[in-house]
Symmetry: none
Subunit: 214 residues, 4 copies
DNA sequence: AATGAATGAGAGTTCATTCAT
DNA sequence: CATGAATGAACTCTCATTCAT
């Protein structure tokens, strides 16, 4: 899957990078506050620290800004996650660490994640598959960790349920961002993480039945 | 929490109901396809089977359409869910039935649920709290069922985790709608439901450790 | 100059009269408050005590309402003025009584006169000449009274200035309505009338010069 | 009384001035022909020589155009009047010159004055007081001249009638614009001015009575 | 490379008028 | 005669995009 080429009239690549970073930063704040459609290109330019004319030196259309945001967010989320996942753990603790890491990263980048979640559908047609691809890659990264633990025998799961388990983890992470309105009154990141780990690992079924049932 | 009053110039209440039902139906299809912002009021009118002038006889602003959609969707989702939940079950089977019912309803109303999920943030300021309230009510309904099963001793869960368990169920339901792009290739509603029930009830931890760990 | 025919679908002439009277009354209040253009036909219908459908049984277009208002206002102003002018006076007192009467009528019908003044330009093209004609008629009526006093030798005025004197009187009357924002703080109808009579009759030139100058 | 700030997206103040002057010129012609409400913003833009988008770079709303017109008209009327009033005169001639100057300016700016007169009521709520204030200022300027002549003893007038005399002059000036339909057939600016000066100075009362009455 | 004035298609909304009941 | 739901032309205003400087 190819990264979408965002056209720029400016040749100096370093400058392009710098300006786009400014754009992404300004745009995220605006998109979070008012959403993609209610944000004007003028506002983006202003928040980025340059003029509307300059904005269009670095992008081809407003939608490109959204794409750049999404791309940047995935990049940073993955990077931070990888950073945390360098810490090696074994057995069930590996899973616990995975969940903790994922949730931590999402918590740190709440605004960005939320924006992506809510505005991804406005992405230019050609860009959506690429962004979904990055989501899939991330899910696969999660899945790999789970697979390792499964290989150690510390988690039980039929083959075909492994992807779903990974996807569940992703969603529980995102949930911390997009259901914040509901969760924030009862949970801190720590209590939320702890409770979710519990439910992920042990499920709801009471032990008594677990044991009897076998 | 008060239902928002949507102004109408037409006095005949039955007619208002009928026309708004047409509107909601037409609008959901459009919103799903192109999102709220890219859908024009003229398109909504046309899809509803009347003129732009008539549309505005039944609403005060475009945002009202979105509110009517959200309100109607919650109404129908809840109604259908209640319908399914009349079937009485006991023990773990009650939980299984709850999950099956929830997922079934969401599957039947995929488009509507997806639209609500993605566009709720565009709701008029006064309407958002009401819609969130309905989401909470629904979550509580789920929670009640879980509480019953817990009272029977078939599920284990500290008090403070019950709300989270309910919220998790809700999200896993919605997930079937909003991650369809990812799930549809590997799962049917049935396999998805079965797999999720499994993970919800038993968790990921291998029995061997479960037993040893105590 | 023909009175403009305002079309009505209703045959019963007495009813037409009654309904149009209701219309004029309701419309004047609205026009005064918000002007002709900012007043909607629905509002006129409501203020008149019937439905929008009924309104259009008695007029052909919104502009007809304005015409009916103007026509009615002139009718009533003239009628009231005639009423007051039946009181016979002689010499300068006739002029004084004329001014007093004119100002009194305009004071009583401030709202109506103001509306006519401000909205006449919105009259349907065919109706404007008729309304201007009525204004001319009224001015001539004033002029006739002045002519009488002039014949008595109590006022000095070259022939060709008589129409202007009449027109001046009319404008000073209207002025009481349309410059109310400025006059109301310093004058009551009585003091305004008295002061104007003074200036109309004696002018500004100091007597000393008057006398010397000849 | 503060001048209302009309918002502009354009920063170059000189350009703003220039464009607004174009706007005022174009708008006056249109307002005169069809009135404020029947003139569309697109027509204003076209008459001003730019696009609808550009129009809105220089104003916030259609009403702002009307305000700019009124403001510009007062500015120019006052300026021209001051210009004429630099010519010094004494005694009754001062009054004559005042009237002649006032009428001349209004004659030169007939269209503008008429538009202001007829459309002022459509001014944005906050702007009306400011415009009325300018009218008052102008009236006071007239009053000052009268006061001077009065101090010289060439005009007779109780203190409290001075403001009214000034207001009368203003209205007689405007009258040349707004009753043109009636006056134009009998008067030129010169004959109108001459006749009005006569009546203003000497009043209607015949000398014989003036003299006898004392 | 940066600016910001100019553009105009297109959006939401209003409202005079019609006509079936 | 009275009603009021339906209509759609027309309005004001916005904003992504361009391009001369």
């Amino acid at each position: 899957m190819e990264k979408k080429r965002v056209p720029s009239l400016v040749k100096d690549e370093a400058l392009v990078h710098k300006r786009r970073a400014q754009m992404v930063k300004g745009a995220v704040a605006l998109f979070k506050e008012k959403g993609f459609h209610r944000t004007t290109t003028r506002e983006i330019a202003k928040a980025s620290g340059f003029s509307i004319g300059t904005l269009y030196e670095y992008i081809g259309s407003k939608e490109d800004v959204l794409y750049l945001v999404c791309d940047a967010v995935y990049g940073e989320v993955m990077e931070r996650l990888e950073q945390l996942l360098t810490e090696e753990n074994a057995g069930v603790e590996r899973v616990r660490h995975l969940v903790r890491s994922l949730f931590k990263v999402i918590d740190e980048m709440q605004d960005e994640v939320l924006v992506m979640y809510q505005e991804a559908k406005s992405l230019p047609k050609e860009a959506l598959p690429y962004v979904l691809q990055r989501e899939k890659e991330m899910t696969e990264r999660i899945q790999d960790v789970l697979a390792k633990s499964r290989a150690e025998g510390v988690i039980q799961l039929p083959d075909e349920q492994l992807p779903l388990a990974a996807e569940n983890l992703m969603v529980k992470g995102h949930m911390w961002a997009f259901r914040r309105w509901s969760l924030a009154s009862s949970y801190s990141l720590e209590t939320y993480t702890k409770a979710q780990i519990e439910q992920i690992l042990s499920g709801l079924k009471a032990d008594v039945e677990n044991k009897r049932g076998r």
